[in-house]
C-alpha cells in the first residue's frame, strides 16, 4: 500500500509539511495579529486594555495587555501566539510572563472552531457542549495558575 521510504524521504515529507504550515498557516496569522496589535498600540486601545485588565491578569503575574492573547486564543491558537509575539516585539511582556501565558493558549485554544472540529465531528451529544467548553476554559485558567507557581519556584 505504502511505498517503502528511507529515513531521508521521511524527513523530507515532514519538512515539506512544515513549509506549508509556516507559509500558509503561520505567516497569514502573524500578519493579521501584528496588524491588530499595531493598530491597538497606535490608537491607544492597547494601553487602555492594559489598564482595565491589569487587576485580573495581575493575579497570574501578567500585564493587563496579556488578556488580548487569551481572548484571541478562544478563536485561534496561531492568532494568539502571533499576538503574543507582537506584545514581545513592542516590549509589553517579558520572558517570565511569556513562559506563564504560553500553555494557557493551547489548553484553552481554538474553542470556537473546535466546537465544530472536535465536538461536531466526533458526534458528542449537544447537551454536553456547555460542560466541555466550560472545562476547557477552566483548563486555560489552571494553566496560568500552574505556570505562575512553577516560574516562581524554579525560575
Amino acid at each position: 500500500m505504502e511505498k517503502r521510504m528511507n529515513i531521508f524521504d521521511m524527513f523530507l515529507e515532514g519538512a515539506r509539511k512544515g513549509w506549508d504550515i509556516a507559509i500558509h498557516s503561520l505567516l497569514p496569522n502573524v500578519i493579521m495579529a501584528f496588524t491588530i496589535i499595531k493598530f491597538f498600540q497606535v490608537t491607544g486601545i492597547l494601553k487602555f486594555i492594559g489598564i482595565i485588565f491589569a487587576p485580573v491578569m495581575g493575579i497570574f503575574g501578567l500585564p493587563g495587555e496579556a488578556i488580548t492573547v487569551n481572548l484571541t486564543a478562544v478563536m485561534s491558537q496561531a492568532g494568539a501566539i502571533g499576538v503574543l509575539a507582537g506584545l514581545i516585539s513592542n516590549g509589553s511582556i517579558d520572558v517570565r510572563q511569556v513562559t506563564i501565558i504560553l500553555p494557557s493558549v493551547f489548553a484553552a485554544g481554538g474553542i470556537l472552531q473546535n466546537i465544530g472540529r472536535v465536538l461536531g465531528t466526533s458526534g458528542v451529544n449537544t447537551r454536553y457542549y456547555g460542560v466541555l467548553v466550560g472545562v476547557t476554559l477552566l483548563n486555560g485558567i489552571l494553566a496560568l495558575i500552574i505556570m505562575s507557581i512553577l516560574t516562581k519556584i524554579f525560575y
Binding site: 515529507e13 515532514g14 519538512a15 515539506r16 512544515g18 502573524v30 495579529a33 466526533s122 525560575y155
Partner: protein, 216 residues
C-alpha cells in the same frame, strides 16, 4: 519482540526496536534536556539543531533592530520556517519508523485508569495529539462501531478539546515564542497534557453525577 498470541486486541500495531529508539530519541530531542550541554550530546537537542540566524549588526539577526508592525511580523513568520520544517521533519521520521506505534502500545494498558477509556482508543488518542481532525474522526468511528460508549466519547472529546493536536500545534505555532521561554520547552507541553487528562476526568465526574441524578 512480538507477542501476537497473547494480544487481546490484534488491531493494535506492533512495537519494534526501531520504534522504541525513535520514540526515545524524539523525547530527548524535544524535551530540551540536553539543551545546556556543550559537547556532542547537544547534537540531540531540537533547539540546538535549529540554531540561530547570523548577526547583521551587533547582537541582532536579519530581523534587525526596532522593526514594527506588519513588516516585523512578516520577518518573524519567515524566521520560523526553518524551525517548523525541522520539527515536522523529525516528527515524520518518528511516525514512519514506528515511534508512535510504541507510544500507542505503552498507552493501551493505562487508558482505563487514566481516562476511563478502553485500550482500543489509544490509536485515536495518539492521532489526536498530532491532528485535531484525525482524532475527532477516529473517535466518531470508534463510537459508531460500538467500541466506546456514548459517555466515553464525551470524555474522550473533552480530552481532545483542551490542547487539541497539541504536539504538532505546540512545536509549530508555539515555536514563534520558544526563544522567549525561561524553562525547557517540554515544561509547558507537559502542563498542557496533564490538564488534558485532568479536564477529561472532571468531565467524567460531571457526567456520572448528572446521569445519577437522571436515574433518580
Amino acid at each position: 519482540m512480538e507477542k501476537k498470541i497473547l494480544d487481546p486486541e490484534p488491531k493494535v500495531s506492533k512495537m519494534t526496536i526501531i520504534g522504541w529508539l525513535s520514540l526515545i530519541l524524539a523525547i530527548i530531542l524535544f524535551s530540551g534536556t540536553l539543551s545546556t550541554t556543550q559537547d556532542w550530546r547537544s547534537g540531540f537537542d531540537f533547539v540546538t539543531l535549529t540554531g540561530h540566524f547570523g548577526a547583521l549588526k551587533e547582537g541582532k539577526d536579519f530581523m534587525g533592530v526596532g522593526g514594527t508592525g506588519v513588516r516585523a511580523g512578516f520577518l518573524l513568520a519567515l524566521s520560523l520556517a526553518p524551525c517548523v520544517m525541522l520539527a515536522m521533519g523529525l516528527i515524520s521520521i518518528v511516525e514512519h519508523t514506528g515511534g508512535f506505534n510504541v507510544a500507542q502500545r505503552l498507552l493501551t494498558p493505562i487508558l482505563r485508569p487514566l481516562l476511563g477509556l478502553p485500550g482500543i482508543a489509544s490509536l485515536a488518542l495518539i492521532a489526536s495529539l498530532q491532528s485535531t481532525d484525525a482524532g475527532a474522526g477516529m473517535t466518531k468511528t470508534l463510537c459508531d462501531e460500538g467500541l466506546i460508549t456514548n459517555k466515553e466519547r464525551t470524555v474522550f472529546a473533552q480530552f481532545q478539546m483542551s490542547g487539541c493536536g497539541v504536539i504538532n500545534n505546540y512545536l509549530t505555532i508555539g515555536s514563534m515564542v520558544f526563544s522567549s521561554l525561561i524553562c525547557p520547552i517540554a515544561v509547558p507541553l507537559l502542563v498542557i497534557i496533564v490538564l488534558k487528562i485532568f479536564g477529561a476526568n472532571l468531565t467524567r465526574m460531571i457526567i456520572n453525577r448528572s446521569s445519577e441524578k437522571g436515574a433518580k
